[in-house]
Symmetry: none
Subunit: 212 residues, 4 copies
DNA sequence: CATGAATGAGCTTTCATTCAT
DNA sequence: GATGAATGAAAGCTCATTCAT
């Protein structure tokens, strides 16, 4: 990918996160970069394509970040995973926050989202099954597991709007709250072994100090 | 409130839910009602005010719907409450789905949202404390309770986007999935007494049949 | 139709004829009239609609101009009909001259054109049949008649481009040449009775003087 | 002319005929050929020049195609001439169909057209005079001949728009109709000798079968 | 010869809002 | 109360053309 294309995407991501994707015009992006609109359209055939490229970048980064769990008796590292994950997701906040508006305005983006979500859900299921197998997470019936996973997805992607409305203005603080949201969500599903051997509880304690 | 004002709000709500708030123009609302744009602006000074009024209507209805729990030893009626609650929330879906865009475009709406969320959270907390007091829900430390409640809010308000992206096209089916999301979310917090005496488990079973 | 709507159409017709329909932007029209573009779009939902309205106006005027031939033994008045017809057609020159470009850019205009042409062809056929019946025009086989009529249409609608390229700059002179094109085209089909009793030959003579 | 220049013209002609000259961008031409826009502008200083070159190519081919009638007593071969002529004109349809737009957008193209038309008219006149001399076509006064020739030009160049609007979608069928337009146009001017000795009538019969 | 990045003006269209009547 | 004409800014996008390399 050419440098300029990268630059456009970077500026677009920045502005989308700052002001919202819907509220950011192609001219805004061009102006911010100091190029002409025509030039922007030389690299991308329309705004939809910009969004799709951003989403692909996002998904690519997601893939490289996957904690590949080998089939070993090892507890999941909640802290590292979540801090890392959410930190990086902040760079693409607009995707979660404006998902519905984006979908209804740019239909082909919806397809990209649908593919992306399938991958995420599979990864999450594998993670759960692994932790169940080695006794870190309690046995769960399959149908319940499906809903636990969808609840995880909802919390992972939608926590931020809650803290925005609750007027937490510091992005970093928000993110820590978001991590706590997920840690507390997971807590009841852990076995005694899970609570004793994973870093879930210590992570909670560590983050709660920071939050105060 | 004058009849006309009410009519405008009703049409606005209808269109916002159908096509999205951002995609619905003031002219569109006026046309649908069969009045002039000028007249619409006689009743509301701008689009922002319409949204705020809708949100107030929404909050008012929320209040009247509150299951006022007396201080009695009685299990919470999950089924009736959630079905009723979510059914009614469908009438204001756009608020949840476009929350972020609305906030960033109409800053004064944010304040209304902030007030509204405080009320909701207080209600939810009372409910939890009541059920804990009578042994239907496990004892929970205060800080954990805060996050359980924020997680509840996130799931209650944000479940729909998950099922939309997962291509569940029937609104009714989506809503039932949403109810299941919350029921499964609550399940681990219930005591044995809670599981035996509340209708949470039977509600789950009942809804799972329908969903298939 | 409101005055403003009429004004917009009039300015549009003027500019379309002067600079071409394709080369005239909606902003040109608005500027020429001294109104805002927004206002123009208040009256017409898009440029296509403007064109269709113009074409309808055109066809309506065509209808009122139809020489309704009763079933009497009377020679067709070439002069009055053609001078009148072509004079008025000058006001809508762009339709003939840019037909192909308009059709390919505004598909729904094509349908309007198609309907219009059918009416025209029917009228022309009736006229021929009437003149044949009373011996002013020679007997013609049906299939030949079809092609004579299509040739008439081609000449009636497309003569102007010939005289433009041949550098006849005066619109009035061009029109007289156009009339002569059609008179000469008709000439071979007239019977002796036709030549003696209609004003075709005298019209030719009259116009030729003017042209020189 | 360099090969590359030729290639550009060929692609331009192809695209102009397919999608219209006005609707074909320089970038489109370059892409179709697989060269850069910059390179295209190395060979032609602007789009206008491309059109002029195409028109010159067109006129050159016209010249080579001229049936040079020697001063012999021989009937004109309508069929071969017209099929050949119109077949080849299909390759430059856009010139006839968009003539007016092209002229008003690219004024210097107009001059080229003007020169071209003069040549054509002269050829046609020679042809008529030759056939009159040997009694195939009736005697015609000079001024009438001028108009017959201009009518021929109009029909030869403008027939297609009629059949396009009449929804004849097959190019080949359209062309045959166009040939018939001209054959029928010529018919009344032929003498008995002309009708008996030329292939005009047989051509008509032959083509009418195909058209049905 | 050839590339392809860059420009800037222009296009059609939408929309919240105002205001004279 | 009610109308609806009017505004002007802004949106997404296209295109002929230029120019450094």
């Amino acid at each position: 990918m050419s440098n300029r294309k990268r630059e456009i995407l970077d500026v677009a991501i920045k502005l989308f996160n700052e002001k919202g994707c819907i509220n950011t015009s192609t001219r805004h992006i061009a102006d911010d970069l100091g190029i002409s609109v025509g030039n922007l359209y030389y690299y991308f055939k329309n705004k939809e394509e910009i969004i799709i490229y951003i989403y692909q970048t996002f998904m690519d980064e997601v893939s490289t970040r996957i904690t590949l769990l080998k089939d070993d008796d090892i507890a999941f590292d909640y802290y590292e995973f979540l801090i890392d994950q959410m930190d990086f997701e902040l760079n693409y906040r607009f995707i979660r926050l404006e998902m519905n508006n984006i979908i209804s305005k740019y239909p082909s983006v919806k397809e990209a989202f649908q593919k992306g979500i399938q991958i995420k859900l599979k990864q999450m299921k594998n993670l759960f099954l692994h932790q169940i197998k080695y006794g870190y997470i309690k046995e769960i019936e399959d149908i319940e597991l499906e809903f636990i996973i969808s609840n995880s997805w909802i919390i992972i992607t939608q926590w931020e709007i809650f803290w925005i409305i609750n007027n937490i203005k510091d992005e970093r603080v928000r993110r820590e709250k978001g991590v706590l949201n997920l840690l507390y969500f997971m807590k009841p599903y852990l076995t005694t072994k899970g609570l004793e051997n994973s870093n879930l509880l210590t992570s909670i304690k560590y983050l709660e100090k920071g939050t105060k």
